[in-house]
């Protein structure tokens, strides 16, 4: 996956061992195989079906309830695989939100392709193939941005996330990462420049 979000994906610095916040500690305990931690993680991840339903509704509801429910397992499997990459920079729910969005948008793409192939609407409530309501276009745009962030170098992506998603100042980010604010600013600028190239080249980084 491109695995994600405002908080997730490959670009996360692999630091699930981070225990700066309680969620980092929780994930650390799960990775250490503590059964009580797994119970707490289950409780926290019970939000996944609700996030998927809400994200689908916000995208204009292109999938039916059954199709959304079908995504729960894939999303949890993706979250589980990527658990060691959880940096603890955001809450677990925020991190998981990106996985939900990614799985949902992939499912919507498949749904639309299948609808286009069959050449007819399944029922009166099914949207026409490739008709993109504003909400859906916006969700695709958001997912494209997240996917581009995931393609950045891990240290650049982390700075970008801390700046825009955790809303930290450059000085705070520097303190968190043990670097000078000037180094953080340079990383941030590089990250923006790389994002510009990636987004300008349809997902493939343009070397210009």
């Amino acid at each position: 996956m491109t695995e994600t979000p405002g908080g997730g994906g490959d670009a996360h610095v692999p630091s699930a061992g981070s225990s700066r916040n309680p969620d980092g500690k929780l994930v650390q305990d799960v990775l250490a195989g503590r059964a009580d931690a797994l119970d707490r993680l289950m409780e926290r991840l019970r939000c996944v079906p609700r996030i998927l339903r809400v994200a689908n509704a916000r995208a204009g509801g292109p999938l039916d309830a059954h199709e959304v429910e079908d995504l729960v397992q894939d999303t949890l499997a993706a979250v589980w695989r990527k658990l060691p990459t959880f940096s603890g920079d955001s809450s677990l729910e925020t991190w998981v939100y990106g996985f939900c969005l990614h799985e949902l948008m992939n499912a919507i793409r498949r749904h639309r392709t299948q609808t286009a192939r069959t050449g007819h609407r399944l029922d009166a409530s099914t949207p026409e193939p490739f008709e993109a309501p504003r909400e859906l276009a916006s969700s695709f745009e958001r997912e494209r941005l997240y996917a581009a962030v995931d393609r950045l170098e891990a240290d650049e992506a982390r700075v970008l996330r801390l700046k825009h998603f955790a809303e930290m100042t450059f000085a705070e980010i520097g303190e968190r990462l043990g670097l000078s604010p000037n180094t953080i600013k340079t990383r941030y600028y590089r990250a923006l420049e790389r994002l510009r190239r990636i987004l300008g080249a349809g997902g493939q980084e343009d070397e210009r």
């Binding site: 996956m1 491109t2 695995e3 979000p5 405002g6 490959d10 692999p14 699930a16 061992g17 799960v30 990775l31 195989g33 797994l38 993680l41 289950m42 991840l45 019970r46 939000c47 996944v48 079906p49 609700r50 996030i51 339903r53 809400v54 509704a57 916000r58 429910e69 079908d70 729960v72 397992q73 949890l76 499997a77 589980w80 695989r81 658990l83 060691p84 729910e93 925020t94 939100y97 992939n106 916006s138 745009e141 958001r142 941005l145 997240y146 962030v149 970008l160 825009h164 998603f165 809303e167 450059f170 600013k185 340079t186 941030y188 600028y189 923006l192 420049e193 994002l195 510009r196 987004l199």
Partner: protein, 236 residues
């Protein structure tokens, strides 16, 4: 414009985009007025920064809506069941760390691990290059024997496996790029009621040279009954 001159513009752009220079700063205004390329880059990067802020706002709104979304009766048991199965079958791996002191028992364990790896390598070789054991990734329920494609093949052709479905059950196949395991699936079959799937020629051509494919069997209520995993690569 020479490359040197253009390079001298970078510090101004960096300072502007990190908030050290105001948009009304004369140095920035001069640069944007005289260098078309820098002006376009600056505007694009400002737009990206705004999009990131908008994404954050959208995320907050969505999470607020989630907080008000009622939990459906089946949500908790389903999540718990899936996570228990994941935990049982495939523990996520924490990043490895160097241990300052190794216990003495490490040497026999390493020897055992090497022996196990050799046995596994022989079994993989014997099975035409595909792993005879369950994929170390996510495997829920029982294993499905995957017949083809496996190992090195001319074309991926028809995907076939062996499993008897209960009434109302169905299969689904997912194909992944073996060379890019984190890139997500490259194809997914429709729901299948028999143990075979032939992707279209266009789909097969789009498959990468080496694939990992997974088949999952579900019952009529979507519960996973079994999974199978196999690896294959095209000879040309």
């Amino acid at each position: 414009m020479t490359a040197d001159r253009h390079a001298s513009h970078e510090p101004i752009l960096e300072r502007a985009l990190t908030g050290e220079l105001a948009s009304s700063d004369p140095a920035l205004r001069d640069l944007l007025a005289t260098c078309e390329e820098c002006r376009m880059r600056y505007e694009k990067m400002c737009g990206i920064a705004e999009s990131l802020d908008a994404a954050r706002a959208e995320e907050r709104e969505a999470m607020a809506a989630v907080a008000h979304e009622p939990e459906a009766p089946g949500d908790a048991p389903r999540v718990d069941e899936i996570l228990r199965a994941l935990a049982r079958d495939a523990a996520p791996r924490a990043p490895e760390r160097a241990s300052p002191r190794r216990p003495k028992v490490a040497v026999p364990l390493v020897a055992l691990a090497i022996a196990a790896a050799l046995v596994l390598a022989v079994r993989v070789f014997w099975n035409g290059g595909s792993s005879p054991i369950a994929d170390p990734g996510v495997t829920l329920g029982a294993a499905i024997p995957c017949d083809s494609p496996r190992g090195i093949v001319d074309d991926y052709g028809t995907f076939a496996w062996r499993y008897s479905l209960p009434d109302g059950g169905w299969f689904e196949v997912e194909v992944f790029d073996e060379a890019a395991p984190s890139a997500g699936r490259v194809a997914r079959s429709p729901r299948l009621d028999s143990p075979a799937w032939t992707p279209s020629e266009a789909e097969r051509k789009a498959f990468p040279r080496a694939i990992r494919w997974e088949v999952v069997a579900r019952d009529s209520s979507q519960r996973v009954l079994a999974r199978g995993v196999a690896h294959a690569s095209r000879s040309r």
